[in-house]
């Protein structure tokens, strides 16, 4: 892996235990600072690809290197530690925890992982991110009291609070209207650019593709046998 490459995968093979399908990723590469879109229809396996590349799902065979570490050689705990330090995730519908306030939602990776230490610097970073995304006044509120746009900003702050070199977004605008989609993507690009994070977005919204450095077809990245 060259210094430019943040994530590379080769000859990945994964079969769901339930036998739903077998996925095969011949080759995949993300360079540092890139903004890449991966397009595929609903149910084509976009989430499976993201989970394979980040070690949430363990490939049956093949090799993945993430930020200089051989992910496929690591045990479950080490994969989790690498993932939480290296990858920020933005989920479809944002997946905020309705019982935590906005600040705790942003700090969630620190609350659930022993691999990260929650200190004053991290709290300050969370507040700075909230300020940068315009939600600094909402830190004590619960997600149920927020608008869709505000929730999306919280999700973004949570993905970036660990200062990850890679941000993965799984259909981040899937349930937003056109105006809000544009605003959300503006924010995503801006914040990732500010932090120098690589951005991989999986989406089925072709309207957004012009804005990315590279656009991949899911079928090209991952072959699925059902």
């Amino acid at each position: 892996m060259t210094d430019r490459a943040l994530l590379t995968a080769e000859a990945l093979r994964f079969a769901y235990p339930e036998g739903r399908f077998v996925a095969h990723v011949p080759r995949f590469r993300l360079d540092r600072g890139e903004r890449v879109a991966c397009v595929g229809s609903s149910g084509a396996g976009k989430t499976t690809l993201l989970h394979l590349l980040t070690g949430v799902l363990r490939a049956d065979s093949g090799r993945i290197e993430l930020n200089g570490a051989r992910l496929t050689d690591l045990d479950e705990e080490s994969r989790r530690a690498l993932r939480i330090r290296t990858v920020g995730m933005v989920f479809q519908q944002f997946a905020l925890l309705d019982y935590l306030c906005v600040l705790d939602n942003i700090l969630l990776p620190y609350l659930v992982s022993e691999a990260l230490d929650l200190d004053a610097t991290v709290r300050e970073r969370a507040r700075s991110l909230a300020e940068a995304t315009g939600i600094e006044a909402l830190l004590d509120r619960k997600p149920g009291q927020l608008s869709q746009g505000e929730r999306q900003r919280v999700a973004l702050c949570r993905a970036l609070v660990t200062e990850p070199p890679l941000v993965l977004a799984d259909e981040p605008t899937g349930n937003l209207d056109a105006t809000r989609t544009d605003a959300a993507m503006d924010l995503l690009f801006e914040v990732c650019a500010r932090h120098g994070s690589t951005l991989l977005v999986v989406t089925h919204d072709t309207r957004l593709l012009e804005r990315f450095d590279r656009v991949l077809q899911l079928e090209e990245c991952m072959q699925v046998t059902r």
């Binding site: 949430v56 993932r83 019982y99 705790d104 969630l108 609350l111 992982s113």
Partner: protein, 385 residues
């Protein structure tokens, strides 16, 4: 996070806590009740070696003699007490119950009762004279009475002038608390008990010529006089009328509810019991044995209650398990998300377990507080006597 989740879903958490509190509290209360019951019953029985009475239900005799419960047994007579006393070995104590004074059991006995039970007065003295009443601590507290005050016995029948009316008793002292049935009783001399029953009575002179109007005299014999029930009897003993009190029967025939016997030694106890058990009319029982039988019945009920409590706990655990499984299903997306960002599966289960542990701890604390409140605010539920 576990606390935040529990607080966010406060009604669900409260419901679960309440169910668990009830599931903990019921068996704890039963256990407390039964152990108190056993302790108090056994302690009272242990300090009363033998009880004599009319042959019949031994539970009635024991409960009547030890706890002053109303007994359906026929009374024994004073002559029996004298027979036992004539043996000159242990101490025989007469007991007469069946009347009330301001709803407290009126217990007629002798001075030996206080000595054998180790009772002492906190104020005043023991009942030395006919008409004196010694109050148990709870009765004194309830009625607010002390030495020098008066206390009326409850009349047996308000509508029958042939029945004895209320007798005015004079409070001579108050006993120290003992946490036994003695606290809830009013003690009088055995003669006073007979006076309340109407067996001993006092009235003015009826034999002197002209002492009574002729229409009050029903019949005249050689050495007897029958007067109308309309003759007013003394309802209170005083220094002036003390010598007016008398009885119209042989003292040996006066009734006793039971006789407590404190034997000189085991041999004395065995001989006396053997003599009584040969009798077709009387019986003598060892209260400890009778109480043990009672406790066996109580423990059967306890086992039943324990079974019910176990079912309650199991059903609550199943209910809790169901809530957990539904929670896990409802929170699947949340747990998947947490796993995706780097949280271990075990950590997510730790969150659930911590929340549940918090609820169980709260429920256990609630049950402990509930039990303490129950003992403090509703002592009659826990108290045997």
């Amino acid at each position: 996070m576990a606390g935040a989740h529990a607080r966010h879903h406060r009604w669900r958490s409260l419901l679960l806590t309440f169910c668990l509190t009830v599931a903990f509290l019921l068996p704890a209360t039963t256990r407390q009740l039964m152990s108190r019951y056993e302790r108090d019953l056994s302690a009272r029985a242990d300090t009363t070696p033998l009880v004599a009475g009319t042959r019949g239900n031994r539970f009635d005799l024991t409960l009547g003699a030890l706890y002053f419960r109303q007994s359906a047994l026929e009374p024994v007579h004073m002559g029996l007490l004298e027979q036992i006393q004539d043996r000159g070995r242990g101490v025989a104590v007469p007991l007469h119950t069946g009347h009330l004074a301001r709803e407290a059991t009126l217990v007629g006995t002798s001075l030996e009762y206080y000595e054998q039970r180790g009772l002492r007065t906190v104020t005043g003295s023991l009942p030395m004279m006919i008409g004196d009443a010694l109050l148990g601590s709870a009765v004194a507290a309830r009625l607010g009475l002390g030495p020098g005050d008066g206390l009326n016995s409850d009349p047996t029948n308000l509508y029958d002038i042939n029945q004895p009316g209320a007798t005015r008793l004079s409070v001579c002292g108050v006993l120290a608390p003992t946490a036994t049935p003695d606290d809830d009783a009013v003690f009088v001399d055995i003669k006073t008990a007979w006076m309340v029953s109407g067996l001993v009575h006092g009235h003015g002179d009826v034999t002197s010529p002209g002492a009574l109007e002729e229409d009050m005299i029903l019949s005249r014999g050689e050495d007897s006089l029958s007067v109308s029930p309309a003759l007013i009897e003394h309802d209170q003993v005083s220094e002036e009328n003390l010598w007016d009190f008398h009885l119209h029967a042989s003292p040996e025939e006066l009734p006793l509810t039971a006789i407590l016997y404190f034997p000189a030694d085991d041999k004395d106890a065995t001989i006396l019991k053997a003599e009584f058990n040969r009798s077709a009319v009387h019986q003598m029982v060892g209260p400890r044995k009778v109480v043990d039988e009672l406790l066996n019945y109580a423990f059967k009920i306890k086992r039943l209650l324990d079974g019910v409590a176990l079912v309650l706990i199991i059903s609550t655990l199943i209910f809790g398990g169901l809530v957990l499984s539904l929670t896990a299903r409802l929170r699947k997306e949340e747990f998947d998300m947490l796993h995706a960002i780097g949280c271990s599966r075990s950590a997510t289960w730790k969150l659930v377990a911590l929340e549940l542990a918090g609820i169980v701890t709260l429920a256990a604390a609630g049950a402990a507080v509930g039990l303490i409140l129950l003992i403090t605010l509703a002592p009659d539920l826990i108290r045997v006597f």
